[in-house]
């Protein structure tokens, strides 16, 4: 077993996927010789060659649009979008073309395309480098959206996403790229579409994904000192959402707080709150509350610590939920 950063775990996962299937190709800006701005593809062009790991011109719509054509030709393209804020030039290709091709062709044209996007804030970056665009994609029929939160999931989930015949937006929490964990590459992965309880508790369920899972685990540890036993649930898949696991958890704890960096309005938290109210209306002790980024553009980085949910903000809302 090796200690791997999330970036390295993704790298190893991509390598394993490319070893397994020679139709897997990696494409994106600066992913070849440079290895990507976060080094996730480091060394892969050297080992697999320029036909399978290639730098593209600097145009995101072109990256996704040509990936669609490559998929029609039988390839399994893995696109890297350099930063979350740069995905929007590809929005038509993702939402109107990639997501709909399977349905439009009544299943005759498959779209095994993965779009990797480093997402979220917390790294002191300049504007357009800290966005959380997941709701745009999770709202789109035909797309699937997943977010890894730790190196082990990163290693396996990227391989599972590549093996899927559905188009997948694969979100990587960029501020967790350098966090390490033991990764047993011989282990058996959990299903890609399943949420996971990462900390058992009895008083309330914190529901998070991507970068906020660690924040919630830290909050749960801090709450423990105050005698509060919080459960933490890592959604892992944002589309489809694994509601059976969410319901099972909240049925036990009877309280839920959803935590994400993205703005609250019409976001993942809203969808989860709606579903919980439909399913567990008589069983919950408190309304579903949310801890999210504010409904502002992502602020200049000297303000981002105030914008992003942190341990204190999570605990503050937990207190509110527990007062019901």
């Amino acid at each position: 077993m090796a200690q791997l950063t999330m970036a390295k775990a993704l790298n190893e996962g991509l390598r394993a996927a490319m070893d397994r299937d020679d139709k897997v190709v990696l494409m994106g800006e600066d992913i070849g010789r440079l290895g990507g701005v976060f080094r996730v593809t480091d060394g892969l062009q050297k080992d697999f060659g320029e036909e399978r790991v290639f730098d593209t011109p600097l145009a995101e719509s072109g990256i996704v649009g040509t990936a669609i054509g490559l998929a029609m030709r039988g390839y399994r393209p893995v696109c890297e979008i350099q930063f979350d804020g740069f995905v929007f030039p590809a929005y038509d290709q993702i939402v109107s073309q990639l997501a709909k091709m399977h349905a439009r062709s009544r299943g005759l044209v498959k779209m095994p395309v993965v779009i990797r996007i480093p997402f979220g804030g917390g790294i002191g970056a300049v504007e357009h480098h800290s966005e959380s665009p997941e709701a745009y994609f999770a709202h789109t029929p035909g797309l699937k959206v997943v977010a890894c939160s730790n190196p082990v999931d990163a290693y396996f989930m990227v391989q599972q996403a590549i093996a899927s015949d559905d188009p997948i937006v694969f979100l990587e929490p960029k501020r967790r790229y350098w966090e390490k964990a033991e990764v047993d590459t011989t282990g058996t992965p959990d299903p890609l579409w399943g949420a996971r309880v990462v900390r058992r508790g009895t008083d309330l369920t914190l529901i998070a994904y991507g970068p906020m899972v660690k924040t919630c685990l830290d909050a749960a540890s801090a709450a423990e000192e105050d005698g509060r036993d919080l459960e933490v649930l890592d959604l892992r898949s944002l589309s489809p959402l694994d509601f059976p696991t969410v319901f099972e958890s909240v049925r036990r704890t009877r309280r839920a707080v959803v935590v994400h960096e993205a703005s609250s309005s019409v976001g993942l938290g809203a969808e989860i709150a709606a579903r919980l109210s439909e399913q567990l209306y008589y069983e919950m002790e408190a309304p579903v509350l949310r801890v999210t980024g504010y409904n502002t553009p992502y602020p200049p980085s000297r303000m981002e610590e105030e914008f992003l949910p942190d341990l204190d903000r999570v605990l503050h809302v937990v207190d509110t939920a527990l007062r019901y």
Binding site: P57, G65, A67
Partner: protein
């Protein structure tokens, strides 16, 4: 308003049907082939006329007519080899005909019954793309895949791609990105731009200050303007460009200079933005009339031939009309199918709820 007449134009057939020669492009076809080109022009126009009538009678939601663009489409479509792959817009009914896509599939799209319904891989003709020019990137990616497969180089078995778009589409970012991609990867692709002079109500002059074919030079590959109302020239130029692509010479931009003789779609009213005199001038360059004149001048047809073509067209139109009127509406529950390769629990739940809801009505219907 339009580009000056002095711009070089590849032409093998004058509007009067005179066969002329060009130093770079030529065709030598058998008499039978010449006749079959004409037959295709007539049949695709007949499909178009019948579909327009069906729309007017309320049988189609909308129809995008190809009227006037038959030669550009039949010429380029017949230049494709079986192994080539075409990526159309929503007006490529003539190319669809050449790829042996049943016209009823096209009607099913505009009737609202399906999104096309043909197998794109089998026909090597992608589904129509409605969002202007998105398909040029798909075509380029497909062409990149051909190169990766090593299926380029051989003049007989090499594969090539053709991407269709129009003068209005030339302003979109995606086609310019496709030009960049195809150029730097030297992809086996032909960009076939039908400049029909109008993007709905917007003239080409609002899209470009230079002739569109000249844009290719800036991207690093050849561009050529062909008389898009001349089926022989459209065929010759496209065939040469496809052969260049399949043998590894990279992309070509073809600007087929033509005219949209009808409305943008059946929802459009061109009398609001263009002069009748312009249409009258283009009618003198009608692609069918010049081919007809050529066949007469070659003395390779007789009245029996034209009668037979007309009879074939009548038969085709009748089949289309009957097929359209008899086309069943899809079972609504099928909207849930094929959204994903692996269906999600949410969709399975919605599908079941939908079925239960409808089963609750008397007789299971509503």
């Amino acid at each position: 308003m339009t580009v000056p007449e002095a711009t070089p134009l590849v032409q093998l057939l004058t509007p009067e049907g005179e066969r002329v020669h060009h130093p770079d492009y030529d065709v030598e076809l058998t008499d039978e082939e010449y006749r079959s080109f004409y037959r295709d022009l007539v049949l695709v126009r007949r499909i178009d006329v019948e579909a327009t009538a069906l729309q007017r009678q309320g049988e189609l939601g909308i129809w995008a007519a190809l009227l006037g663009q038959e030669a550009a489409q039949v010429g380029s479509g017949r230049a494709l080899r079986p192994q080539d792959f075409a990526f159309p817009t929503y007006r490529e009914h003539g190319v669809a005909w050449c790829r042996e896509v049943d016209p009823l599939h096209l009607l099913s799209l505009f009737r609202g019954v399906s999104n096309g319904g043909w197998d794109p891989q089998d026909k090597r003709f992608n589904l129509y793309t409605i969002v202007i020019v998105s398909q040029t990137l798909h075509a380029t990616g497909y062409a990149m895949g051909i190169t990766k497969d090593g299926a380029v180089g051989d003049p007989d078995t090499g594969e090539a791609v053709i991407a269709y778009f129009g003068d209005g589409a030339s302003s979109q970012g995606d086609v310019n990105e496709a030009f960049v991609w195809a150029s730097v990867y030297n992809s086996p692709i032909v960009f076939f731009c039908q400049n029909n002079q109008w993007g709905i109500s917007t003239p080409t002059a609002t899209q470009s200050r230079i002739p569109l074919y000249k844009r290719a030079e800036g991207f690093g590959f050849p561009g050529v303007r062909v008389d898009g109302n001349d089926v022989l020239a459209s065929y010759a130029v496209t065939r040469a460009a496809l052969d260049s692509a399949r043998t590894g010479q990279g992309p070509t931009l073809i600007e087929a200079f033509t005219y949209r003789m009808g409305a943008h779609t059946t929802s459009d009213d061109p009398t609001r933005y263009r002069l009748a005199s312009e249409l009258e001038a283009w009618k003198l360059k009608d692609p069918l009339e010049r081919m007809k004149s050529f066949l007469y001048k070659q003395q390779i047809v007789d009245s029996a031939f034209f009668e037979k073509v007309e009879a074939d067209a009548d038969e085709l139109a009748a089949r289309i009309r009957k097929g359209c009127l008899e086309m069943p509406d899809p079972d609504p529950v099928t909207m849930f199918d094929y959204v994903y390769d692996e269906m999600t629990p949410l969709l399975a739940e919605e599908r079941a709820a939908f079925a239960t809801y409808h089963a609750g009505f008397a007789g299971g219907g509503h």
